[in-house]
Amino acid sequence: MRHTKIVAWSVLTLVLVWIAACVVRGPDAVKQHLWWSGLGPVLPHDTFPADCSLCHVGSDWQSLASDFTFDHETETGVPLPGAHARAACILCHNDRGPAGVFQRKGCAGCHEDVHTGTLGGNCEDCHQQNDWHPSEQRIRHDHTRFPLLGVHASTACHRCHPGAEVGRFVPTDPECVSCHANDLARTTFPDHFAAGWVDRCDRCHLPRTWTQAQQNP
């Protein structure tokens, strides 16, 4: 039955995709040279010097001189911070669209958002531009309803955010038992379930360690 449903959904979706592909205007109806008004080489050469051999060598236009340098900020006004300075030109200047459109969108213009839009577009809050390695995310936690107190500050992210490794940090429930259900289940003395102590752990436990608790008066 389940298999039948899946096959049915697949067929239905493919049919819809096929219909959509047929209904919308096809490539023949699009004047391709009007895609972008600045169409030409993906890198505008208007302001470059007349001597092509300054940059190009060999018999094709793809080979650049070994000593080729280009000061992007001076020449274009757009700085290339961090690893961007080492990136191949074609990663941004390619035939998938004008680089200016990508740049206007910030990081999202070129980088996939593995957080699927849930964390916003200010990538530099956590990532730095030399190697994209995130750091100091813990400080960001001070701007939530759950600042990292006590041992929470030294706890690996995935303990509370199971999808942290793939960039997924929400949704997360801040109630203690959401993460400490196993600790609650292991409790034998006193018997928390018998006493009805199954929530509001912070009434007796400070976020130092579970073994230090005081009995609720």
């Binding site: 039955m1 959904w9 050469h45 300054l54 000061d71 001076t74 759950f146």
Partner: protein, 560 residues
Amino acid sequence: MIRIVALVFAGVLAVAPLRAQQGSKETQTVELRVASQRPRGVLVDRGSVDGLAVGDRVRFLRRTGGEAVGRVVELGERNALVALDDPNAQVELGTRGEVRVPVSRLAPEVPRIAPNPETAETAPDLPEHPAWKNDDEAWQDGEPLLAHVVPLRPDERAPSLSGRVWSSADEITSSEDDRTDGFERLGMSLRADNRFGRGESIGVDLELNARRTDVPDNDDESETHLRIDRASYAIGNSRFAVDRFEFGRFLQRGLPEFGVLDGVEWGRRLTGGDRVGASVGYMPEPDQDFESGHDFQAAAYYRWVFDESEVFSASAGVQKTIHHGDSDRDLAIAKVEYFPNDGWSANLTTWIDYYTSGDQAKGPGVDITQAYGRVAHRDDDGNSLGFVYTHLSIPEIDRNDVPQLTAAALADDRNDRFAAEWDRGLAEDLRLRVVAGLWSDEFESGSDAELAVRRSKLWSDAGRGELSLFGTRGRFSRTYGARARYAREDEFGAWTCDYEFAQNTIDEFASDNNELPQHRLRVGRDWHSSGGWSFACDIEAWLWDQETAFALHLYLQRSF
């Protein structure tokens, strides 16, 4: 009288050549560039046809600031050798320069000669040449034939390979039950573009990781995972192909909010820049395994853009998921983005769930599960002001994607936050940053604030410092503290040192002993090479009133 006339005449004769000489000295600036370096100087890309002559003074404007001056010593038709006044001076390739040349040297415009109607009438009849035209698609009527450089087609473009390999290690040891945590990761990301000359892109992202937790009184935990984040083949979406297809495992491109997919996505760019697309396949569970096969999805979207510059756009999409064969989530995404060139930016994304009578916790109806909105302005001096709003509740779905909650909690759980961020330069080396936020959930509301002063060129030209004061009224606690940071950059990276103190008060703890002071010290170093190597290392220590913890973080990456 005759003598007076003679003197005036003589004066006119004397002044006339002088005026003519002055006229010949009217000059025009000719811009040039350094084309190559020679033992005796530098070769520039202008020559006699541009009005240069031996002996002309040339001024070079270095990109890094400063000038170099030289004199033309050899002249070609389209280049010239310039000897620098300072033979030890270095002028890089491509450096701009300028020379002032007399206008008289510049080639006069050749007057157009009107055809002689009599001659034209008597000329023999010649076969009329068909109109010259340029077949390049970039060429338009009315342009010179050589107006554009021909854009490379994918089959004319060389294939390329880029990516990175990285590894990290996080080791944490805590006095709490003598606990230790270790997490080692090895990852690889590859992009092969145009490998078969069709403009396609092949992407592979892999990660192998191992984690372990040792707590003496409990069972040790140890896990190893190999996760494939991407293995996909994409083709199209270039100026030569309006359709784009991607197969395999990948993050959906049309609306990334739909998540990672094991399947196929199609998209088409329409006239004017609008896009439409659809996708079908399985969604891997978003955890450390990315296990797939449980959740089938079908999605479609439309993106409207105001014009080709995509300054303003609006997107809408729907996604239907099926969990183990049973209907699960009906999700709609609505997104608006505004990115003009004047420093403003605004975007709003909403996740809207549709529930039926089968969704017992939420009940039938429509619910905005999640929203993210931001409006900000940033000027050329780096001053910025931004406002952020986020809303989050937990959707009622069967997919292994959300915390396991009771029906009541599932129905009521929510969190809304509104924040403002302000960053302003107070002086050349001094900046102020203020962050303030308000939050509200199903039980309580609270706030947070941080005020930071940043000083560059502190104690050295490469040093910078930051002092922050912060406070948070959280769901379970109140926190006040201060944070100080000093960083010193060098040619390869930076040293950083942080100290933070926070005084925490636990709200519900049924005792006066509810204060928890917390110290944090961190020393780090990052290093980057021009060859693509990156290395980062930091040591972190936390000290509470009774417990301590230490962490070591290492990161090594090679990008290419």
